[in-house]
Symmetry: C2
Subunit: 576 residues, 2 copies
């Protein structure tokens, strides 16, 4: 790591950075380039000399195996060149536009995760990501080859060191090299998915890297949902002493500013957004994930079963916040075991949300099947759930609405659901939310409504052009009954979740230790959980994991089957 | 790469290798250890001084994220030690038992893909895999850390160099180091999944490595299905001049022998199995994949819809070959659009196979739904398929039978199937078989039956204790009508696949280029396909891939959700 690239721009004493926290779409080269153009115009109007965008701006992120298509890489490269020319044609050629894209390693033909600078009508300097994360949701080492050159942009004597996401999470590598080279500011572009509690981890990391390089660190993160990931944005600038100099709001697109004065001892703090309530944060992440999933996949409405229970109520509220109550088709599908209270709660919820509401009793359908099949026990319970699945999919097909699965993480982890039944759906908004958190989110949503702040007022969703969101007259969104009653699948008389599962307050703690922290049996006992609970939960989770893996598997007999290389033949929207 | 480990055994002029091509099960430490013990006894009885097993013998392969559980690694290590002690107790302590397992890199706590030698009651030398494949179905770099020491076992002056699978597929690394150190034989243990045409690629590679090291190469591969992979075995020994010295049969467990005489100029050829017919090879791979999926997941029977079409007929024949006709529950589910011919063909097939056969008309159920839903067009077509899905799952639940999805690769690639309808099933035996190949396999299966060789006679499946298989009186398994009639989903009057798809002979060629070879649009046109066909196929495949990805997605809000880390909470059968 010895080379560095220098760019010179004369006549500035301070350098104004515009930080563009935008929502990109994987594969949509034209749409992403258009957004870069729009935000660069605004950055220029605001007096910035440099505008920076998130990781892999032009291609979208995470790109997965789409990166392996040479035709896509060529199209991305053409897009960057055309964008640079367009910027110059519009009189924006003097701006330094820092954006992410994909490159090719000419030594071996492998893709590179690349940062480029568009300036003066052309694609200038390039920096290739060095550390390629290969854990959790990340598969970058599988896809990309690693860059090995640090890059410093010298803009009117201001030395801007650049890095991409994982580069700042690992010690050594490009940040250490930049510290040796000497920089005035560390500019990082990121595609960092949301996790509960991650914000302050990022601040601590940023402060450490700022100290290490002796320069403030700019952290620009993408925002928005992409497939099953949600990016929270939360762009910030942090000084070497740990002072937050700028902090953008989470879960919305944003353009913020940072004026670097290399003469000043300390940078001046501009706007700093507040911390969000932890429940608000998760709620907004779920709503944004759903909203973007709909937008990026061309859906304008959703459909789901409304049982009167808390899970479907919360999902319906999220859907109404994402797309408006009028975009929600709720279906009550009572059986002979559904209580009157459940039916009333479902109807109340739909009214509160302004959602469409149909009643489709399943008893006649159940009788027709049973006339031929004569099922008993769990088979008969599953039959009820699967009839409901068929109805939900019928609404989905005939209305073009996205079917939502309403399962929560606790029941999915324990396999307490019916495959092809209540598990039916193209998107599962609360699949990563434990049951105890489901209750907390429902209460938070009602508090937000009762407080008169609503979701439109909170601007929790949507881009800067505004957001959907419901604000009922009474101030209550989710019926109190749905929150307070004992959970039941209502598939046989008097059934309760607690017949089959430990109490959720306990269950969720065990699940968190077993799933999130990978504690084994001995660890769980050492955590203080009793042996019977531990064995029950482990058995349920292992069996559910096994069942999940069953659908759908088949043998691989060719060089490339479906499944593993899951993104290879994806949307050729770029069509060469 | 400078160290080498030396073991000494006195008093041998030639060394007899036993090559144990066995079928392991991921996570089943006890079962895998028991199998090593059994084969070591037989190796000893046969006069071998050394017996070698496939990659990751004790843990099973591919182990995926199960490797990340420290409790599992500890249990695997304990198993290896106990096995070494048991071998010594049984008087087998003088054998050198070469097996694969999992280790831990003490520098960073990461798992290692390890070869161990059990000898004299203890776990002796260890070699850690150097090259970790990270493409296609492989994720090893994600999971393991890389070994950096070549190992030579010196057994009575015979220098045995060892390597694990990918180590021989990459130039340099351990094989190059072994060539420098000087060895008498290169012993490789492998977990190499089946692909059409891969056998001769392996022979060429083996001959190259034998030349490079100046020593014959032993290639031991695992056999059997594991999740969606099928391992074909096909163990062999190849000399430096490319002569095959030994070749085990494919798709069965096997113990073969190789006598190494370091004085002899050329090794003597022992048993060399013949090439299989290419259609026989794929058929056997599919049957073995299904058979092992059933065995390893505790199923003894299967259920599927029998439409009278070729796909369900072929799948039913495979199932009968895997588990016996009596283990197959076939369900004819005629609608108002099903032809009499289709119903007859389904009944004939079931009779040929000796399968259970029920008729469940869907018209009364369809009418009951339509009384409430009033669906039209594609929604009504999907409803029929989904009613069938509910019936198949009802049989699966009430009989404990594995539901089989009967879709082929061509229709799945084009999205010509109904989610939650005909796509229902825990295993899809022909999901990686193009439609033209489906016809070829059906004709091959009938030829095999007509030739009187049957599947039992061919021993295509099962371990050495024998195989299932059907052999009907008439010599025809799959009704000729099912093979010869024009394919139809029979969901509306007069419907034909060719209404929606290009002719399969053309379609499959385009799909192969687009999916298997990742050709882009310009490449496909250069391949000589016409523009309209190319655009139709690309649109269908892209849309199908998009739909496949939809089910089921949801946001990730915690450090570890389901999905990506898909094996972490899997069967803790090892329970510490």
């Amino acid at each position: 790591m010895t080379t560095c690239t220098a760019l010179h721009l004369e006549g500035m004493s301070t350098l104004r950075f515009a930080l563009a926290q935008i929502d990109t779409c994987v594969g949509d080269l034209d749409g992403n380039a258009e957004k870069v153009l729009t935000y660069t115009r605004r950055a220029h109007e605001g007096g910035a000399g440099i505008v920076a965008f998130p990781e892999m701006t032009l291609t979208g992120y995470p790109i997965e195996d789409l990166a392996l298509r040479a035709t896509f890489r060529k199209a991305a490269w053409d897009t960057a060149n055309e964008l640079a020319a367009t910027l110059a044609d519009e009189g924006l050629g003097d701006m330094y536009v820092v954006a992410g894209t994909i490159g090719t390693d000419h030594a071996n033909g492998k893709p590179r995760n690349r940062l480029v600078v568009l300036h003066d009508g052309v694609v200038w300097a390039g920096y290739d990501k060095h550390f390629l994360p290969n854990y959790g949701v990340f598969d970058e080492f599988r896809i990309f080859s690693s860059g090995d050159r640090p890059v410093v942009l010298d803009i009117d004597g201001v030395r801007v060191g650049v890095a991409i996401c994982e580069d700042i999470w690992q010690d050594g590598g490009p940040v250490a090299a930049l510290a040796d080279l000497g920089i005035d500011v560390l500019l990082t572009i990121n595609g960092s998915p949301y996790e509960e509690g991650k914000t302050h981890t990022r601040f601590e990391l940023g402060a450490r890297r700022a100290r290490e390089t002796g320069a403030p660190m700019i952290y620009i993160n993408q925002v928005g949902g992409q497939d099953d990931l949600v990016f929270d944005g939360g762009t910030f600038v942090i000084d070497t002493d740990g002072t937050l100099l700028e902090r953008s709001p989470m879960f919305v697109e944003d353009l913020s500013w940072f004026d670097l004065d290399t003469e000043a001892k300390h940078q001046r703090t501009t706007t700093v957004a507040d911390d969000l309530d932890p429940d608000a944060e998760v709620y907004m992440a779920c709503v944004l994930g759903l909203k973007d999933y709909m937008t990026k996949n061309g859906f304008t409405s959703v459909t789901l079963g409304l049982s009167g229970g808390i899970d479907s109520a919360l999902v319906a509220a999220m859907a109404a916040d994402a797309a408006g109550g009028d975009a929600v088709y709720g279906i009550s599908m009572p059986s002979m075991y559904s209580s009157d209270g459940s039916k009333d709660d479902a109807a109340d919820l739909a009214a509160n949300l302004g959602a469409h509401y149909d009643v489709q009793p399943i008893e006649p359908l159940f009788d027709a099947f049973q006339h031929q099949l004569h099922l008993e026990g769990v088979s008969a319970e599953n039959l009820q759930a699967r009839i409901r699945g068929v109805i939900v999919m019928a609404y989905s097909n005939s209305k073009g609405a996205l079917a939502l699965a309403t399962g929560n993480k606790s029941e999915l982890a324990c396999g307490y659901s019916t495959i092809y039944g209540d598990a039916v759906g193209g998107y599962a908004p609360i699949k990563d939310v434990f049951k105890t958190k489901v209750w907390a989110l429902a209460r938070w949503r009602n508090r937000a409504a009762a407080g008169g702040i609503g979701i439109g007022g909170l601007r929790v969703v949507g881009n800067e052009e505004g957001a959907a969101g419901v604000m009922p007259e009474g101030g209550v969104i989710i019926p109190v009954n749905s929150i307070e009653k004992a959970p039941s699948a209502e598939l046989r008389p008097g059934q309760k979740d607690s017949d089959s599962l430990p109490a959720y307050a306990l269950l969720d703690k065990v699940l968190e230790a077993y799933i999130e922290h990978a504690h084994g049996r001995a660890d769980l006992l050492a955590d203080g959980f009793d042996e019977q609970t531990v064995d029950t939960v482990m058995r349920l989770v292992d069996r559910a994991e096994w069942k999940r893996r069953q659908y759908p598997l088949g043998p691989k007999v060719s060089a490339l089957a479906f499944g593993r290389d899951r993104r290879l033949p994806v949307t050729d929207a770029f069509r060469e």
